[in-house]
């Protein structure tokens, strides 16, 4: 799954640690999601969407094979 988390975080001027603090997860989790090495749970995806005032679909998208 691809996502826009890194861009959205940069727009807010937050570090990974700051975003992690706001989401109540570890910095490692934020890093893993940004790098596409972890697909967040539905609960965390909604928390992320709520934090950026967007919908889940506006942040996360399925990575379809070409």
């Amino acid at each position: 799954m691809k996502n826009r988390l890194r861009i959205l975080r940069a727009e807010k001027g937050w570090t990974q640690a700051e975003l992690a603090g706001r989401l109540d997860v570890s910095r490692q989790a934020v890093n893993a999601i940004e790098n596409g090495k972890h697909d967040p749970s539905l609960s965390l995806a909604f928390r992320i969407a709520h934090l950026f005032d967007l919908t889940v679909e506006q942040i996360f998208a399925e990575q379809r094979p070409d």
Binding site: E11, K12, G13, W14, A17, E18, A20, G21, R22, D24, V25, S26, Q28, A29, N31, A32, N35, K37, H38, P40, S41, L44
Partner: protein, 144 residues
């Protein structure tokens, strides 16, 4: 251009949460130690009516070990985030499968007389070692 929102009301609370987690961890260690000592003392007294140091020490260590593992496990799964829980569960699953893959054929061969008796210590060490190896590999992969 709009200035980035650098205010982070949750950052300090995130750090506070980390500190609280550390405090809980140390509290569990201390509590386990004290309870283990009390258990050992109590059991030693109840068994013989007097204090026998070797038995008391053995019970104390066993109780401390059990409580510490139980307490830390509870603390870990309560506080760890989903990435950490996922990595740990997969590592444990991998370790368990290695133990089954080695232990079951070994037990069958031993039963048929084609191998030495099954050593639970070796199987346990293999399980723990492979789980640790898997966990380290996943963490390394995340860092790359």
């Amino acid at each position: 251009m709009t200035a980035p929102d650098t205010s982070s009301p949750f950052t300090s609370s995130g750090e506070a949460r980390s500190r609280r987690r550390r405090r809980v961890f140390y509290a569990i260690c201390l509590f386990s130690l004290l309870l283990g000592l009390a258990t050992g003392l109590g059991l030693g007294l109840a068994k013989d009516g007097d204090l026998e140091l070797s038995r008391m020490t053995a019970w104390s260590f066993a109780a401390i070990g059990g409580l510490l593992i139980g307490g830390v496990s509870f603390w870990f799964y309560k506080w760890a985030d989903e990435v950490e829980v996922k990595d740990n569960l997969w590592a444990n699953t991998f370790g368990m499968h290695v133990a089954f893959a080695v232990g079951i054929p070994w037990a069958i061969l031993a039963e048929m007389g084609h191998a030495s008796d099954l050593s639970l210590s070796i199987v346990f060490l293999l399980m723990a070692g492979s789980a640790a190896l898997y966990y380290s590999a996943v963490k390394l992969w995340r860092m790359i």
